[in-house]
């Protein structure tokens, strides 16, 4: 009896050991961010197809919500239990590179592979001449406007400058009935970015040529005053500091807002949730000098230095970045194409919404590649919230924040 028990345990342990050793031979663990409900199924399908074509390789996908991705990576890396590949926000890449956890991919990248990408989107993942990540998702921002409200207010064309935007917002807000001209984001992630649209149009950059914060400059203050005036004249939704990007998008979907700036994925959401909404997409308004700027964002997929199966991991990356796989992902999630061949597909060429975004790409700014960027963004958002609430004057608040940011940058 006893020996039977022992035997069972022994065989169980042995077979378990055998199993794990087989699994280790070609296991590639991939941490992916959940962009939408379509992300998980997409990667599950990619895993299946890839494993069928590459016997012996076991792909393990971990889908993580965006909000906790950085936290998960931080703890995983700290404990040494990170995956082989992971999607990260490209703005975090500098930390990963500085701490020497990201593997440069140049050894794997062939000229043919490199040629698949639109250069604007690959370049943010290049640091010190080395490519550390591949752009898995790319996005930019443009201005959505509600055609029905425009018609009712007697506006024929989307505004081209901030002055025109103010005039249009006045007409739309005058319609009454809980309808507001300009949707202004004042809470949570990208509160600072929503302000940069106005700041870039004044010809001010986040960091000037000397690497100092641009927030204290006259243009930056003028931009804050544009927004403050919109708030004070009730041309935005009330209580802007309680509206995150999603909250403003919801108002837009409900037809309560005339204009807002956001990413291409809103088109997909409108298609599913508010198919009757008549809207258009236009360029972000320009400033007096004609300057304008949109926010370009890429997320990168990186390989970790401590990966045991780099060859297999690279093979999987190579597969993910084939034209068909890319097209399926990009169209499902509502991103911009990063792949040249993909961008030529009818889906993109004949899509007026997406064209507005791609037209803005030449004026796209990416988050500056500096350590401490998250802290800079946080400080900027804090200052903006105080300005929007009317607790402080734009002038003094932005100058003080610029000082603080310069202090952070010097470290």
């Amino acid at each position: 009896m006893k020996s039977l028990f022992l035997k069972t345990i022994l065989t169980a342990t042995l077979s378990l050991a055998a199993l794990t050793s087989v699994a280790l031979a070609g296991t590639v663990r991939v941490t992916v961010a959940e962009y939408s409900a379509k992300t998980g199924p997409y990667f599950a399908e990619a895993e299946k197809a890839f494993e069928a074509a590459n016997p012996g390789v076991d792909i393990q996908i971990e889908v993580v919500p965006w909000d906790v991705l950085l936290q998960k990576l931080t703890t995983d890396i700290g404990a040494g239990s990170n995956a082989d590949l992971s999607i990260i926000g490209t703005r975090w890449l500098i930390d990963f590179v500085k701490q020497d956890v990201a593997e440069p991919l140049d050894g794997f990248i062939t000229p043919e592979f490199k040629d698949r990408f639109i250069d604007t989107f690959l370049s943010p993942s290049v640091m010190d001449g080395k490519t550390y990540g591949l752009p898995i998702a790319a996005s930019a921002r443009a201005m959505y406007y509600n055609k029905e409200l425009f018609e009712k207010a007697g506006i024929t064309e989307p505004p081209k400058t901030w002055d025109e935007l103010k005039a249009a917002a006045e007409k739309i807000s005058a319609l009454g009935g809980g309808v507001y001209g300009y949707g202004l984001q004042g809470k949570e992630i990208e509160t600072d970015v929503y302000y940069y649209y106005a700041m870039w149009s004044q010809g001010v950059e986040i960091l000037d040529k000397d690497g100092k914060s641009g927030l204290g400059s006259d243009g930056a203050i003028a931009a804050a005053k544009i927004y403050k005036e919109l708030i004070d004249k009730k041309l935005t939704q009330p209580g802007v500091t309680s509206f995150s990007r999603e909250d403003v998008q919801n108002l837009f979907k409900q037809g309560k807002i005339g204009m807002m700036v956001t990413a291409p994925f809103l088109s997909n959401q409108i298609k599913e949730e508010a198919p009757n909404l008549k809207y258009g997409v236009a360029a972000i308004p320009a400033g007096p000098s004609g300057a304008r700027g949109t926010y370009g964002v890429t997320d990168s997929i990186i390989m970790f230095k401590n990966s045991q199966n780099k060859e297999e991991a690279w093979k999987f990356l190579d597969y993910l970045f084939t034209t068909d796989m890319r097209a399926k992902f990009t169209q499902g999630e509502g991103f911009l194409p990063v792949n040249k061949e993909e961008a030529k597909m009818d889906y993109y060429v004949n899509n007026a919404d997406l064209k507005a975004f791609t037209d803005l790409l030449p004026s796209a700014r990416f988050a500056p590649v500096i350590p401490g960027w998250e802290e800079v963004a946080q400080k900027t958002s804090d200052a903006l919230q105080k300005i929007y609430l009317g607790d402080v004057e734009p002038d003094a608040a932005l100058k003080a924040t610029a000082e603080e940011i310069n202090g952070i940058l010097q470290k």
Partner: protein, 291 residues
């Protein structure tokens, strides 16, 4: 023989002591290590840094404000929950038609995850499409939408109310247990002597409920002091950090900005505050009982 006898109690508590050490002392030990070192954003230690993490914290106005606000938050939520729970428990202790249903309804918020409750409140408090505004509007109480979460003061007040709401079920449960342990003959005897309901409450119910109030106070203080979801989900400590308490401040420091050293220092300070509070309070409560 005697030496063996003295060893037995220690042997008996040894397993739980080992377990406690593994799950309490070890993490606290590594927290101390991280808090006193220069740490990169992935938690890798870069060497001792003369308590720079702590001095950075005390030089930070946001931290000091979060510290005070945590005190206010704890006092208001725990105090409010105790004040509401005593009458609720008294009512639920009476025998009335439908009492069981009333008890279940009261306990329900406890069964729902705190994060989900907070998410629902975030929707309800939305300024333009929130349920609370449309309900108040429908009742004719307000004529214009209130922006509940736009400014720090109002948002914090709402968070305290939500905090009280979710703390009441647990507190009431403790009090109900306490009330059922009070012998009924005390009330009968005092009624014969002509005591009014109020006198019964003051001289019988309240004194005998005291140990339970003490337990509720200590446990709730620990829970509420550390409570993250309500504030994080509704405002993320904003606008401009004006609703931050220590845990949300810690989270931002650690996982947004990547200052794990300072974040660990915050959690040590929180641990110290709770420890001191608990020791003082337990001492006071014990002394009272002896007297």
């Amino acid at each position: 023989m005697t030496s063996r006898q003295t060893a037995i109690p220690y042997l008996l508590i040894l397993p739980s002591l080992v377990l406690a050490a593994a799950i309490i002392f070890w993490p606290v030990g590594s927290l101390i290590e991280i808090a006193t070192n220069d740490v990169n954003r992935f938690g890798q230690l870069k060497g001792w840094n003369d308590f720079a993490n702590f001095s950075a914290l005390f030089a930070n106005a946001d931290f000091i404000q979060a510290l005070w606000r945590t005190g206010l938050w704890t006092v208001l939520v725990v105090g409010g929950a105790l004040l509401v729970s005593v009458p609720v428990a008294l009512i639920l202790n009476e025998d009335f038609y439908g009492r069981d249903i009333a008890r279940v309804i009261l306990m329900l918020p406890w069964a729902v995850s705190l994060t989900m409750t907070a998410v629902v409140w975030r929707w309800a408090l939305n300024g333009e499409s929130g349920m609370l505004n449309s309900a108040l509007m429908g009742l004719g109480i307000i004529s214009e939408n209130v922006q509940w979460l736009a400014s720090g003061d109002l948002a914090f007040a709402m968070q305290v109310l939500i905090g009280i709401l979710v703390t009441v079920p647990f507190t009431t449960t403790i009090f109900l247990g306490g009330l059922s342990s009070i012998p009924q003959d005390l009330y009968e005897a005092s009624a014969l002597e002509g005591a009014s309901r109020l006198q019964q409450f003051r001289h019988i119910t309240l004194p005998l409920l005291k140990p339970f109030i003490n337990i509720a106070l200590v446990l709730n203080t620990i829970y509420v002091f550390n409570s993250f979801p309500i504030i994080w989900v509704t405002t993320q400590g904003g606008p401009a950090n004006s609703t931050d308490i220590l845990v949300t401040h810690l989270y931002k420091l650690g996982f947004r900005i990547g200052k794990l050293g300072e974040a660990s220092a915050v959690s040590l300070i929180m641990l110290a505050i709770l420890l001191i509070f608990t020791i003082i309070y337990v001492r006071l409560a014990m002394k009272e009982r002896e007297a």
